[in-house]
Symmetry: C2
Subunit: 262 residues, 2 copies
């Protein structure tokens, strides 16, 4: 089953479009970071369809941080999608080495990938059965427009070119896209260009993305293939991660119901 | 002293523009990878001004591979530039975490950085005194043109836009650029746009980049601020890494002498 089908299955089984981001920010040691992410994971797990550790926050603790990530995989049940947010982008044998690190050593089902170096940089992440890549199409940072919205000679923006190429590179439903929920217009645009691709939407919560508009945009196609990632909005919620995850899951469902009344 | 000055000093002290790439490809264990890179490093060190491990080939061995990289720093003398080829590109606190990992934990003097996410993704790599970043402007892979050569509305290519932004993002000589030696025309173009920026030129050797033309292009400015990276062309040379490094260093010097007869 390709990435697209796996997203469908995870959403269906969990009854949730919520992805919990594990971003252990501000811990002095790998041990403290591990304790934090395990707490957030266990508290939120029943309300999420996917789990997305951000590799940077483990690597900042060096080899002991990477060892935390090696142990973390075993705590995530197989019916949740395990996404490693690494945003790697390199060529040839280097990209293959990153694919080995993320899929084979750390156990990712899917990874985030930077497409700047072209299809060769993405191909190794699409080569494993049942695994796949979310290609960065438009990130959630305020300055994302600097390059993603570069106006091209053919009248489009770079984001549109990336999505077009991403679909061309895709052998068989292994490609999804990252689009910041902070810009629902960009979500709608990517969705209309790639009606069946899984979308990963970061930027809700701490980054202030408008949840309802983003969900409406992502659901504007024949499928419900989207995941809303929330990291700090769960981990640092005053109400605690369990209640925050339950609330966010319900908010996504409500936005979805409002978007497409049955 | 900013990155630009450090490159000058390393080149001057070592009398070499050669950078040895440490890419341990094809080893089953981290122990074997470590033995290999230490051998290549020690054999080539007297002929190089810089050392560039490719992080992917260590991460593919998980935490024990990252531990090799932690130990490797101590083997590189302080008068050589230590460049970690990681091609990271992420935002805000994530980019800061990668900067901590690469500079503070692994001891890089400079890193390679992917600019797709904009200036926010690059800034944390420019914020440490004496450290800096080589921004990907045009990579050495055959498919690099797919996105780097995208034609823009203003008549330029994306590479030119990236170099323009990179110079704007630069607080004080902390920015260099990666340009594949495989395309001397691209090297010449980046050099004319950024006459004083350090250039890191990969793709010579196994990737077949034309050494002489690339050196001529990189030297076509007021400075001699460029490094020619060779990885497999040193590590896997039939004549052994020591002789290969000596030969490549001499070839660069000859190309330089031919480019600008004194």
């Amino acid at each position: 089953m390709a990435l697209a089908g796996r997203v469908d299955r995870c959403v269906e089984r969990s009854g949730s479009h919520l992805c919990v981001g594990l971003d252990p920010v501000g811990f002095a040691t790998a041990v403290e970071a591990e304790r934090h992410v395990v707490t957030v994971l266990e508290a939120s797990l029943e309300h999420v369809c996917a789990v997305k550790p951000n590799v940077a926050f483990f690597e900042q603790h060096g080899s002991s941080g990477l060892a935390v990530l090696e142990r973390l995989r075993g705590r995530v049940p197989g019916d949740r999608l395990y996404i490693l947010d690494a945003k790697r982008g390199d060529i040839g044998s280097t990209a293959e080495a990153y694919a080995r690190a993320l899929f084979d050593v750390l156990g990712a089902d899917a990874v985030t990938v930077n497409p700047l170096l072209g299809g060769e940089a993405v191909a190794p992440f699409l080569a494993r059965p049942e695994r796949g890549a979310f290609i960065l199409a438009r990130t959630s940072n305020p300055g994302a427009q600097e390059i993603f919205e570069t106006a091209l000679a053919d009248g489009r923006h770079l984001t549109e070119r990336i999505v077009e190429l991403g679909l061309q590179w895709d052998p068989s439903g292994a490609v999804g896209f990252v689009v910041g929920a902070t810009d629902p217009g960009a979500v709608a645009s990517v969705r209309s260009q790639a009606p069946e691709a899984p979308l990963l939407l970061p930027g809700v919560g701490a980054q202030g993305g408008p949840l309802e508009a983003a969900v409406r945009a992502a659901a504007g196609g024949p499928t419900r293939r989207f995941l809303v990632n929330v990291s700090r909005g769960i981990a640092a919620a005053p109400e605690g991660p369990k209640r925050a995850a339950a609330r966010l899951r319900a908010q996504i469902d409500e936005a979805l119901a409002a978007a497409s009344p049955a």
